[in-house]
């Protein structure tokens, strides 16, 4: 696979790892948050932690739109399918996210709700056209990467004058979440993070520009990084260098797919259809101002929140869950009392266990063997 395989070369990885090890300064620690689940995934899947020197610590951030979707929003989606009887179209990622009362969209489906998995939001539109007698709602989730296509189908639905289609919008914004993490301790100086591995495909859409104010204000270096393992390693190296040199800039490792401006056409489409929400509740983070989008008045006919008078009901995260601390880099999944017992990927309790890219799920699925004290003997 061109432009993929080259970025997964194990030999080159060892070269990068050696460079990182060579540049790490003795006695110094590098606490780096990879904001995105995509990075978390690469780190786990390729075992990158084994390649990094102990001084470099990777903190998994909240960059998984599935993980951060609050219970109340899933509850509303389930209500739409169960009580309103709509065909609820959703990306498969949301199907197993736990909601109230032990439910999830998958379980609601098992109980008879008409929940349909789509690969593309296009398909939701097609389902609406194929079922004129039914109401169809697309359960839109995602960061900036996934927002433009939702905008596109809303405009298309308007052009087609579709009467039975609407969108339950849950699109959220990356920079706002990064700001929130820095502000969450009251004092940004108390946040024990030295740098950020910045989003890949989000940045393809919004460009690297939007992170500049963040880097400058909080004096934290940000390196926009591709999701391939060599990208991540190189970004770590770039962060180590910035930290060593006391710089705090936005650098772009993912130059092959990210520019400073991003995708103007997609941005224009989003601006036409969506506007900022004052406040949005994130699972694990709580209320974050100006961190999400809603559908503009001009397209209100396609806004499921209005059409079905969806009132958001906040459901507190589980008490035992340490997600909030984990997402800020204060704790590790292993520090949570219910990790791997009551909370597993099959029956997740908290945000970090929900998607395979959450910090706890990644540790459970890929890294749990490190906790085991078993001595290994290779034959």
């Amino acid at each position: 696979m061109k432009y993929i395989d080259e970025f997964r070369n194990g030999n080159v990885a060892r070269g990068l790892a050696a460079a990182i090890a060579a540049e790490v300064q003795p006695g110094r620690s590098y606490r780096l948050m990879e904001f995105c689940g995509g990075h978390t995934h690469a780190i786990s899947r390729y075992g990158l932690l084994d390649l990094l020197p102990p001084a470099v610590q990777m903190i998994h951030g909240p960059g998984c739109p599935v993980c951060v979707l609050p219970i109340g929003r899933i509850d509303s989606a389930i209500d739409l399918a169960r009580e309103q009887g709509v065909i609820l179209c959703t990306y498969a990622d949301t199907l197993r996210v736990p909601a109230s009362g032990g439910l999830s969209l998958l379980r609601a489906k098992a109980q008879g709700a008409d929940v349909r998995m789509v690969y593309s939001c296009d398909d939701a539109l097609r389902i609406a056209q194929d079922n004129p007698a039914r109401e169809v709602v697309f359960f839109a989730i995602g960061f900036e990467t996934t927002t433009p296509m939702t905008a596109a189908i809303i405009k298309q639905a308007a052009a087609l004058d579709l009467k039975n289609f609407s969108v339950f919008c849950n699109h959220v914004l990356t920079p706002a979440a990064m700001v929130h993490i820095m502000e969450s301790e009251g004092d940004p100086a108390a946040v024990a993070l030295d740098g950020f591995v910045g989003p890949a495909h989000v940045s393809t859409v919004i460009g690297s520009g939007p992170y500049e104010g963040f880097a400058q204000h909080y004096k934290k270096p940000v390196v926009i990084s591709g999701f391939e393992p060599l990208d991540v390693l190189q970004s770590v190296l770039m962060l180590v260098r910035q930290i060593n040199e006391g710089r705090a800039l936005v650098e772009n490792q993912f130059t092959r797919a990210v520019t400073r401006e991003g995708n103007r056409k997609a941005q224009a489409l989003v601006a036409e259809v969506f506007e900022l929400r004052e406040m949005f509740d994130w699972r694990g983070l709580g209320e974050v101002p100006l961190s999400a989008l809603k559908i503009k008045e001009a397209f209100v006919a396609f806004d499921a929140e209005t059409r079905y008078s969806i009132a958001y009901r906040q459901v507190p995260d589980a008490k035992a869950c340490e997600c909030a601390a984990i997402l800020r880099g204060h704790k590790h999944p292993r520090d949570c009392k219910v990790f791997g017992t009551a909370c597993t990927p099959d029956q997740p309790i908290g945000a970090c266990m929900v998607s395979s890219e959450g910090a706890c799920a990644a540790h459970y699925t890929y890294g749990r063997h490190k906790e085991a004290s078993a001595s290994e003997v290779k034959a």
């Binding site: 696979m1 993929i4 997964r8 070369n9 194990g10 990885a13 060892r14 689940g37 995509g38 786990s44 899947r45 390729y46 075992g47 990158l48 932690l49 084994d50 390649l51 998984c64 739109p65 599935v66 990306y91 498969a92 990622d93 199907l95 197993r96 998958l106 998995m117 789509v118 690969y119 593309s120 398909d123 995602g142 996934t146 393992p229 597993t344 990927p345 099959d346 998607s355 395979s356 890219e357 799920a361 459970y364 699925t365 890929y366 890294g367 749990r368 063997h369 085991a372 078993a374 001595s375 290994e376 003997v377 290779k378 034959a379």
Partner: protein
């Protein structure tokens, strides 16, 4: 049973009378199943099939699989041949030589008889090629909306030669893990046809009967510890089953695992991992380290094992974890599949 019009296999559909125990059912059995499966056991029209066993057989083996694949027809096969291979392979994985098959059909009212006939002919051909006749069966019809075209449950019996004793509990640290060829072909071929995923690829299902390969393998290395076909849950499921049963760990090497480029590409597109994708004509074998190269050679000499590879080894690990050395030299776990294999966007 004179006085009846032949079944219209061109335009007809399954209706409830085909499962009612009346004339229509008897006719369907006669004109479709008995005709194509074509053996004396079925023609004897008993409630079950009676057969002798070859002399000198050690133990017997029985295995069963219900087949519910969708779509029913896919590149490289259909539910018919799949239902033969799926069970023949389960018999083979115990080290058994499959001898006879039973087939239970659950048909949905409205299912086109032409499709049913096509499936039965495919089953008959697969059974013939495998040398394992379908000697008894059952047909039920469920109302529309209470089935999905056709489900086929096949059960196989076979004999295990004296001395052959395959069991994952016999796996010891140091044993080598082998696979018989490229992984993930079947699952990707199926997914390429799912309405909402549709992508095009030349990948075909690998559905095939493996008892010939197994016989050759056991002939060369009777000390094989265990065999398993990595169907649902893929290689990951088999390795976790092995680890759990054996009470040791498994370590595989990413770069040694045969995965076709198109399978890897489809998995990238859909956010899936080839280690979890289903196969229908592949096996995983465990053998003592000293036999591994010989076993590999025997496998590669067989058409079903042409692309076989040694992919790892059993290791000491009281937790029974499966780990993979990545192409980077790092290690990660290969856990059981959580939930379902669903295409992801993130």
């Amino acid at each position: 049973m004179s006085y009846s019009r032949p079944i219209d296999f061109k335009n007809g559909r399954v209706d409830l009378s085909h499962g009612s125990g009346g004339r229509a059912m008897a006719q369907l059995i006669r004109e479709l199943f008995v005709r194509h499966f074509d053996n004396d056991y079925l023609r004897a029209q008993n409630d079950g099939a009676c057969f002798p066993l070859p002399a000198g057989a050690g133990r017997m083996v029985m295995a069963t699989d219900s087949h519910v694949v969708s779509p029913l027809f896919f590149p490289g096969g259909d539910i018919g041949c799949l239902s033969v291979h799926g069970t023949v392979n389960d018999v083979a994985m115990t080290g058994g030589q499959p001898l006879y098959l039973a087939a239970g059909f659950i048909l949905e009212e409205g299912f086109p008889l032409a499709d049913l006939q096509r499936i039965v002919i495919s089953m008959a051909a697969a059974a013939k090629e495998a040398g394992v006749p379908i000697v008894t069966g059952d047909t039920k019809v469920v109302e529309q909306g209470k089935g999905d075209g056709v489900f086929i449950t096949t059960t196989g019996v076979g004999v295990v030669a004296p001395g052959i004793e395959l069991a994952p509990q016999r796996i010891r640290p140091g044993d080598k893990l082998l696979v018989s060829g490229y992984l993930g072909d079947h699952g990707v071929a199926i997914m390429s046809l799912r309405e909402n995923l549709s992508f095009e690829t030349a990948i075909e299902s690998d559905t095939a009967a493996l008892h010939g390969l197994v016989a050759a393998m056991l002939d060369a290395v009777p000390g094989i510890r265990s065999l398993r076909d990595p169907t649902r849950g893929g290689l990951a499921a088999v390795l976790n089953e092995f680890a759990e049963a054996a009470g040791c760990g498994m370590l595989i090497h990413e770069k040694a695992i045969p995965v076709r480029g198109a399978v890897a590409a489809a998995c990238e597109l859909l956010g899936l991992d080839p280690l979890y994708v289903a196969n229908e004509g592949k096996l995983v074998a465990v053998c003592p380290a000293e036999d591994a190269e010989r076993l590999l050679a025997v496998m590669r000499a067989h058409p079903q094992g042409r692309d076989a590879a040694i992919i790892g080894e059993a290791i000491v690990d009281a937790n029974g974890f499966v780990q993979m050395e990545t192409v980077f030299g790092g290690r990660r776990m290969v856990d059981w599949l959580s939930g379902e294999q669903l295409p992801r966007i993130c």
